[in-house]
C-alpha cells in the first residue's frame, strides 16, 4: 500500500512484449516509462547505483551499425540492473560470413539471450527478429525508421525542464528524411500533445510534408498533428525546444544539398537564430554532432543546452525500458 501524499497515477499495465517503435505506445504507457525513469534516476543518484532487478537475465546487445553512445548507454543500463550482458558487434561476428539475420537471432537465443537490444541499418529489421525470437526485442535504432529509447529520453529531458510538454513548441531542425530519431519523436511528441514543428530544406523534408498534411485534421488515434516548413524563422519563433539533427556528409553526394557551407548558413543553429526562440529555449541534439554544420559550437555549450543531460537521462530511460520489458513494476524498483 502506497501511503504517500503524491497524486496517485492510474495504474497502467505495460502491455508490450517488445519495444520496436513508440507508435504502439499510448500516452499512459509513455507516462509509465517516465515514472519508471524517475525511479531509475533515484537509483542512479545512490552511492552504489545498482539494483538486482535483472539478476540472471541475459541481455544481448546486437549492433549491426557502429555506435558508441547508444551501445554503451544500453550496456551501462543493463549492468545497473545486474543483468548479464553480452555484446555482439556485427563486424566481428559470423554476419560477415553471410549468416542471415534470422539465423543470427536463433543462435543468440540458443546461447541464452532473454532480451536483445538491436541496432540495424535496415528499416524494419527488428520486426523480423521479433518474429523468430522467443524473448523481447528492444529496438536500438533501425535504418531510417525508429529509435524509441532516444525519443523517450528526449521527452524525459524536455519534461524535466518544461513540465508537461502539451502545447509547448518543439522544433526538430535538420535531416529528418534519414532520421529514425525524427520519426520516433513525431510519434512520442504528437502523443504528448506538443506543438511539433519540423524544419529543413525541401529535399530532406520529402514525405514529411505529406505526412503532416495528412495528419492536419487529426492523425492516428491519440496523436496531434504537426507542422512542416522550410522557413527557419517561422519554425524557431517563440520555440520552447530546438533539437538539431546531424547532417550526414554523404547527403551532399546524393545531390540533396549544394554544400555543407550553404546548409550551415541557411539551417545551422547559431546564436543569432536561437535568439528568435524563447530566451529560455532548450537546445538539444541526439548526437553525434557536426559542430559548425547543424549546430554552432558556442550554441552546443550554452547553459540551456541539455545535450549532455540527454546522455545521462538515456541511461535511466534504458534502465526503465529493460525493466518494464522484463516484467517489472515501477513502484517496486527500489525493493527489487
Amino acid at each position: 500500500m502506497n501511503v504517500s501524499n503524491a497524486p496517485t497515477l492510474p495504474d497502467v499495465a505495460w502491455r508490450q512484449k517488445h519495444l520496436l517503435d513508440v507508435d504502439v505506445l499510448s500516452l499512459a504507457e509513455i507516462q509509465l516509462v517516465m515514472r519508471t525513469t524517475d525511479a531509475m534516476k533515484e537509483v542512479l543518484a545512490r552511492p552504489i547505483s545498482k539494483v538486482p532487478a535483472l539478476r540472471g537475465t541475459n541481455v544481448t546487445i546486437l549492433f549491426y551499425e557502429a555506435s558508441t553512445r547508444t551501445r554503451v548507454s544500453f550496456e551501462v543500463a543493463a549492468k545497473n540492473l545486474s543483468a548479464d550482458v553480452v555484446n555482439i558487434a556485427a563486424s566481428s561476428s559470423s554476419v560477415t560470413k553471410g549468416e542471415s539475420l534470422v539465423d543470427t537471432i536463433r543462435t543468440v537465443e540458443a546461447l541464452g539471450a532473454d532480451m536483445i537490444v538491436m541496432r540495424h541499418g535496415t528499416s524494419g529489421a527488428p520486426y523480423l527478429a521479433a518474429e523468430v525470437f522467443a524473448g523481447s526485442i528492444l529496438n536500438g535504432g533501425d535504418g531510417w525508421h525508429a529509435h524509441p529509447s532516444q525519443a523517450l529520453l528526449d521527452l524525459y529531458t524536455m519534461r524535466a525542464h518544461l513540465g508537461d510538454v502539451r502545447g509547448k513548441k518543439v522544433v526538430i531542425l535538420g535531416d529528418v528524411l534519414h532520421s529514425r530519431v525524427a520519426r520516433s519523436n513525431v510519434w512520442s511528441l504528437t502523443a504528448a500533445g506538443a506543438d511539433l514543428w519540423i524544419c529543413g530544406p525541401t529535399t530532406i523534408l520529402r514525405g514529411f510534408d505529406a505526412w503532416a498534411r495528412r495528419w492536419a485534421g487529426g492523425g492516428a488515434p491519440g496523436h496531434a498533428g504537426f507542422t512542416v516548413t522550410s522557413d527557419v524563422d517561422a519554425a524557431l519563433r517563440d520555440a520552447d525546444v530546438v533539437m538539431a539533427l546531424r547532417l550526414q556528409r554523404e547527403r551532399m553526394d546524393a545531390g540533396l544539398l549544394p554544400s555543407l557551407r550553404e546548409y550551415a548558413a541557411r539551417f545551422g543553429l547559431t546564436r543569432e537564430r536561437l535568439a528568435i526562440a524563447k530566451p529560455t529555449a532548450l537546445v538539444m541534439h541526439p548526437g553525434p554532432m557536426n559542430e559548425g554544420v547543424e549546430i554552432a559550437p558556442d550554441v552546443a555549450v550554452l547553459d540551456r543546452s541539455v545535450i549532455t543531460e540527454q546522455v545521462t537521462n538515456g541511461v535511466a530511460v534504458r534502465m526503465a525500458l529493460l525493466y518494464l520489458l522484463a516484467g517489472g513494476h515501477p513502484e517496486a524498483v527500489t525493493n527489487a
Binding site: S100, T122, S123, Y127, L128, R206, R214, G218
Partner: protein, 475 residues
C-alpha cells in the same frame, strides 16, 4: 466430376446450369456445355424457365486464361520454380497458356535457351501451353541487341528485358525498329532507374512513416512517356513496330497510354492483380482491398488513423517491382480494365525461395507469387461491384491474345467457347471460397501476402487442349 485425371483427355464432361462467359461472342448468361473426347462438342445458351435461378454467383464456365507475363525461373533458379511446377500452378489458377519471361540464368537471349524451356514443358506432360518472350539485349545487359530474328524463328512471341527496363533510349529505338520488322512487340518494363536506385516502397505516407526509401510514380510515368515518344518516332520506318508496357501501376502511366491509344499509336499495356487489389498500406500491415482503402472523395485513407493495421509491418511478401502503390493508383489500374486502357491482366508471377524472402525488407527479392490467386483477386473486385465479370474474363483471355497478335495456327488463340474446337476452359465455383496456404499452392513460390486468407472463386477444373490440366480434389 468422375473419371477426370490430370493429364488425361476429357472423355465426357457435361456441365448443366452454369453461367457461361464467351468473350469472343461477347456473350454471358446461363448455359450448358458438353465436352466429348477432348472436343467442346456443344455450347447451349439457356432461355426462359430453363435459365431460372442461374447467376454469375454460382458455377462459371470460362475460356482458359492466358497470362503473357510469368517467371518460371528455369533455367537457373529451379529452387524457386521449375517449368513443371509453374505450369501446374498456372493450371490451378485457370491458365491454359502462359508466356515465360526471359530473365532466367542464362537469359533467353538465343534460341538454345528457348529450346531448353520448351523441352522442360514437354517433359512435364502438362497440357498447359508454354509460350516465351526472348530477351531484347544480350544477357539483358542493355548493351547489344539479342538474336531477335533467331528468337522469333524459334517461336518467341515478343521481346523483353523485364526485371529491368531496356537501359538506353537508343537501344529501345533500335529494338522497336527491328522487332517491328519481325511483327513482334517489345514488352517494356518501364522504370527510370535513376529515380529508383535503392528504392523500397511506394513514395508516400507509408514509406515515410516506415522509413523506407521512396519509389516515385514519376519513375514509371516518365519511362512510359519516353517509350511512347520513341515508338512514335520509329513508325515511319518500321510500320509493324509495337510497344507493350507491362505491369503498369500508376494513374499517370495509364493516362499516358490512354492518350497514345487515342492518338492511334500501336501501344498496349497490362496491369496486375496485386497492383489493383493491394496497396502500399499492406507494407505497413493493412490487408484490406485497395477499393476499401478509398474515402468517399476517392482519396487514399490513412491506415493508422483507421486502425487498419492487422499484420506485422515490413512483410517481404509485399515487396515487388513496381511497388504496391496507393489506393488511388490501384483504383486507376482497376478503372483502366473497365475502360479498356489496359488490354490485359498479367500476374507477373514471381516465385522466390524462402531464403530470398525471409530477410530484411530492404534486402528481400522483389516479386509476388501470383498465378494461382489472380482470378480470386479479380473476382473479389467483381463481387465488390468494382469490375464487370465480362471485363475481368476478357482481360484474362481475348485481351492478352490481342496483345500477342492473332497469328494463324496458334493454339488457343481464339479464347472463346468455340464448338468443335479442343476444349480449353475453366470451371469455377464463384460461390465457394478457398484458403491460400503454402500447401494449397502448387507453385514453389509461397511468397504472397494472401497466405492465410480466403479468396472467392474455387477453381474446380481446368481443361487445356482437351486434357485435364487441374482438377480440385474435392470437386
Amino acid at each position: 466430376m468422375p473419371d477426370l485425371r490430370v493429364g488425361e483427355t476429357v472423355q465426357l464432361l457435361e456441365i448443366s446450369r452454369a453461367w457461361l462467359v464467351d468473350p469472343v461472342g461477347e456473350r454471358e448468361g446461363p448455359g450448358e456445355i458438353v465436352v466429348r473426347d477432348g472436343i467442346l462438342e456443344s455450347v447451349t445458351w439457356l432461355q426462359g424457365d430453363e435459365a431460372e435461378g442461374i447467376g454469375p454467383g454460382g458455377v462459371l464456365v470460362l475460356p482458359g486464361f492466358l497470362d503473357i507475363h510469368v517467371h518460371l525461373r528455369e533455367p537457373g533458379n529451379e529452387d524457386a520454380e521449375t517449368v513443371a511446377s509453374g505450369l501446374a500452378a498456372a493450371a490451378h489458377g485457370g491458365f491454359t497458356t502462359v508466356c515465360a519471361m526471359p530473365n532466367t540464368t542464362p537469359a533467353a537471349d538465343e534460341p538454345g535457351v528457348l529450346a531448353r524451356v520448351a523441352g522442360a514443358a514437354a517433359a512435364s506432360g502438362s497440357p498447359v501451353e508454354l509460350l516465351a518472350h526472348g530477351a531484347v539485349t544480350v544477357g539483358r545487359a542493355g548493351e547489344r541487341l539479342a538474336a531477335l530474328g533467331e528468337l522469333a524463328d524459334a517461336g518467341a512471341v515478343g521481346f523483353s528485358d523485364d526485371g529491368s527496363p531496356v537501359k538506353s533510349a537508343v537501344l529501345l529505338r533500335n529494338a522497336l525498329l527491328y522487332a517491328g520488322m519481325l511483327g513482334l512487340p517489345i514488352v517494356e518494363h518501364a522504370e527510370d532507374a535513376t529515380l529508383t536506385a535503392g528504392a523500397e516502397a511506394n513514395e508516400g505516407l507509408v514509406a515515410t512513416i516506415l522509413g523506407l526509401k521512396g519509389w516515385p510514380a514519376a519513375a514509371e510515368v516518365s519511362a512510359v512517356e519516353r517509350a511512347i515518344a520513341i515508338l512514335e518516332s520509329v513508325l515511319a520506318d518500321s510500320p509493324g513496330a509495337r510497344l507493350h508496357v507491362t505491369h503498369l501501376s500508376t494513374a499517370g502511366a495509364l493516362d499516358a497510354v490512354r492518350r497514345a491509344k487515342a492518338a492511334g499509336l500501336p501501344v498496349t499495356c497490362d496491369v496486375t492483380p496485386h497492383h489493383l487489389g493491394f496497396t502500399d498500406e499492406w507494407v505497413a500491415g493493412a490487408r484490406r482491398w485497395a477499393w476499401e482503402a478509398l474515402d468517399d472523395a476517392g482519396a487514399a485513407r490513412d491506415p493508422w488513423a483507421d486502425g487498419a493495421l492487422v499484420a506485422h509491418p515490413y512483410a517481404t511478401a509485399c515487396r515487388v517491382n513496381p511497388p504496391l502503390r496507393g489506393a488511388t493508383d490501384a483504383a486507376a489500374c482497376l478503372a483502366s480494365l473497365a475502360d479498356g486502357t489496359a488490354d490485359a491482366v498479367v500476374t507477373d508471377h514471381a516465385p522466390h525461395t524462402a531464403v530470398d524472402k525471409e530477410t530484411e525488407f530492404g534486402l528481400a527479392a522483389n516479386g509476388i507469387s501470383g498465378v494461382e490467386m489472380a482470378f480470386g483477386v479479380l473476382l473479389a473486385a467483381v463481387t465488390a461491384g468494382r469490375l464487370p465479370l465480362a471485363r475481368a474474363v476478357a482481360a484474362l483471355t481475348v485481351g492478352p491474345a490481342a496483345v500477342l497478335g492473332a497469328r494463324p495456327g496458334r493454339r488457343g488463340a481464339a479464347r472463346g467457347l468455340v464448338e468443335g474446337a479442343p476444349a480449353d476452359l475453366v470451371v469455377v465455383d464463384a460461390g465457394d471460397r478457398w484458403r491460400v496456404t503454402g500447401d494449397a499452392l502448387l507453385s514453389r513460390g509461397k511468397n504472397t501476402p494472401l497466405l492465410g486468407r480466403e479468396l472467392p472463386g474455387r477453381i474446380l477444373l481446368t481443361v487445356a487442349q482437351g486434357r485435364v490440366a487441374y482438377r480440385d480434389a474435392d470437386a
